[in-house]
């Protein structure tokens, strides 16, 4: 019995801890195998995390810029911190749709009431401890640049026989300068109606012809067998939007009537504007004439725009008429120096037929424009309907591409420049 007890039951003092040592060795071995894995996984994880958070920070910053543009166009940022020189807004712990916190957004708008404000938006996503991944998007805003076409008729364009349309760039000198004539005299319409653009016999277009969104260009753009389009026919992907003009607030000048010679230095609002026979009016500075009634130039009258001056005429309503013997002379020969605007309420006719070259641009989205300019129309035309009379020559000035309708005149803010600044 004692023998059995001594073999079968060992006292605590008799255990030698061998299995503990084996266990520790195995654990150490496993640890040795696992540690490099852990380091590698951690490193990969951090890289992936930073990449993800960098993208999230850029997205936050872009959303901030888009949000600011929306507020400037349709909302109101006067409640943001700051004044008219700079306004800021911070959004802390911006949440995604699922409720996950993405990060913080800080938006800064410099000169928020100006025509070219700057928007800077900073997206910050927390990374490790107090560290953040920060990305900043900076955008300069401006007005809508409408003159992308030589002629754009919202409802259509009729081009009579022997009309010529081409392009040049006044920044490279006169049209006659060698190499300055181009083939960017594009014409277009928002209409998808049959024959909305019609080119009669011997009409020559050095540019593309563009039909309304999702229309069939071959159905919308009809050419007489003798007409020629150097470029291509294609359809817009979406309608071209033309903002309506909001005249600026200008001092009231009453009705203007001139029978002799006069010079105008100041902008103003007029009930009507009449130039009688043989009168000569010279624009001597950068002038805006907002005319709420009729504009009329009688026989042999002349409206001169001095070399270093510019003129914008804004037709609020009424009519715009020029006698065949009258003329508007833009002495700088720079079409960007003379723009004839029509407001939404201006639905009248504009008829240009002068015995000399015409340098300027017409932006009257609800008006009918007829050009009878065998002597040359240098500029661009945007109207509801456009008629080119026989032998009219239109030289589209590509410099007009950069001419904006300023937000203060009714345009929405659009992005002029956009860039990402890396801040960390």
């Amino acid at each position: 019995m004692e023998k059995i007890i001594s073999k079968g039951v060992k006292s605590k003092n008799e255990e030698q801890g061998f299995i503990l040592i084996v266990g520790l060795v195995i654990m150490a071995f496993l640890l040795l195998l696992a540690v490099p894995f852990l380091f590698q996984v951690s490193f990969e994880n951090r890289l992936t995390d930073k990449s993800y958070k960098s993208s999230a920070a850029i997205s936050l910053a872009e959303a901030g810029v888009d949000g600011a543009i929306w507020e400037l166009n349709y909302g109101d940022i006067s409640g943001w911190t700051g004044d008219d020189t700079e306004r800021t807004m911070d959004i802390s712990s911006f949440q995604a749709a699922g409720g996950n916190v993405i990060g913080d957004v800080g938006i800064r708008v410099v000169d928020p009431t100006a025509d070219h404000p700057i928007v800077e938006s900073r997206g910050a996503v927390s990374y490790v401890g107090p560290k953040e991944v920060v990305r900043t998007v900076r955008s300069e805003l401006g007005g809508h640049p409408p003159f992308k076409f030589a002629a754009f008729g919202d409802d259509g364009i009729m081009i009579d026989q022997n009309v010529e349309i081409d392009s040049y760039d006044s920044r490279d000198g006169d049209y006659d300068n060698p190499g300055n004539v181009g083939s960017d005299g594009d014409i277009g319409t928002n209409s998808g109606d049959f024959s909305a653009i019609y080119m009669d016999n011997s009409a020559d277009l050095a540019g593309d012809a563009v039909s309304g969104a999702d229309s069939d260009p071959d159905s919308v753009i009809i050419t007489d067998p003798g007409a020629n389009i150097d470029g291509e026919k294609w359809a817009l992907e979406e309608p071209v939007e033309f903002p309506m003009i909001t005249p600026p607030s200008l001092p009231w000048m009453g009705d203007y009537s001139m029978s002799g010679t006069d010079s105008i230095f100041l902008s103003g609002q007029y009930g009507s504007f009449t130039m009688e026979n043989n009168s000569v009016v010279t624009i001597e500075d950068d002038v805006i004439l907002y005319i709420t009634g009729n504009f009329y130039m009688d026989q042999f009258s002349r409206l001169d725009i001095a070399l270093d001056a510019s003129l914008q005429i804004i037709m609020g309503s009424g009519s715009f008429e020029m006698d065949l013997t009258s003329s508007i002379n833009n002495l700088s020969r720079d079409p960007t120096k003379f723009v004839l605007f029509g407001t939404e309420a201006f639905t009248g006719d504009i008829y240009i037929d002068q015995g000399s070259e015409f340098y300027g641009a017409i932006y009257a989205p609800n008006a009918f424009v007829e050009l009878d300019q065998a002597n040359g129309f240098y500029g661009a035309v945007i109207a509801n309907d456009i008629l080119f009379d026989q032998h009219t020559v239109l030289h589209y000035d590509k410099a007009l591409e950069d001419l904006e309708i300023l937000p203060s005149m009714g345009s929405l803010y659009v992005v002029k420049s956009w860039q990402v600044k890396v801040s960390d």
Binding site: E2, K3, S6, K7, E14, V22, I26, F29, L30, L33, F37, Q40, E44, L47, T48, S51, S54, S55, R138, E140, P145, K148, E232, E401, D402, V414, V415, K416, S417, W418, Q419, V420, K421
Partner: protein, 206 residues
Amino acid sequence: MTPKKSKRFRQEEFQPKGITLVEVLVTVTIVSFMILAMLSLYVAGQRYFMTGSTKADVLRDNRHVLNYISRDVKEAIQVLSVWDIYAASSECLILQVPSIDSSGIIIDIDSQFDYIVYRLNSEYPNRLERIIDANDGISNREDSSRVIATRVNSFQLSSGGVEFSGVADFSQVACVDIALVTTQSLLGRTFQETLKTGVKLRNKSD
């Protein structure tokens, strides 16, 4: 006291001394099996990990390169068909971007430009290059040419579903679709990863 002494004496007399050979052999065998099992697990795990890690590396590198290109495309004013000795193709992207000042701010988006070219190196077609032709003396960018990706299997450019080689008028390109395929070999296997992205030219005037 006597009986206790007598009992202890008897227990010490029958206590086994050391470990028998059989026990050692059994232990060594068991431990060997365990180590072998762990090693095979480790090797399989390592292989699995390396595979996943390599795929992740390739994807991350691709994403990094695409982010790089995307940023330039977003800032571009327009895509050009030709610049200097470069001609746009399905494997060559030419961007006109606004020049920047020392603060990184755009100087004048209407008149001051730099040019950035992405193309596959003609001598080593598996290398993707980024070439900058800066507006000397005005822009803070500097002329440079450097490889931003190696092991490139394919770099394909298109816009609106039309490959760049078929684009008639690059001035109309408002969005660039980029597909980047890279390969990497590991443990006798070749890994190929494809990433695609579409980027809008944010500085292109409508």
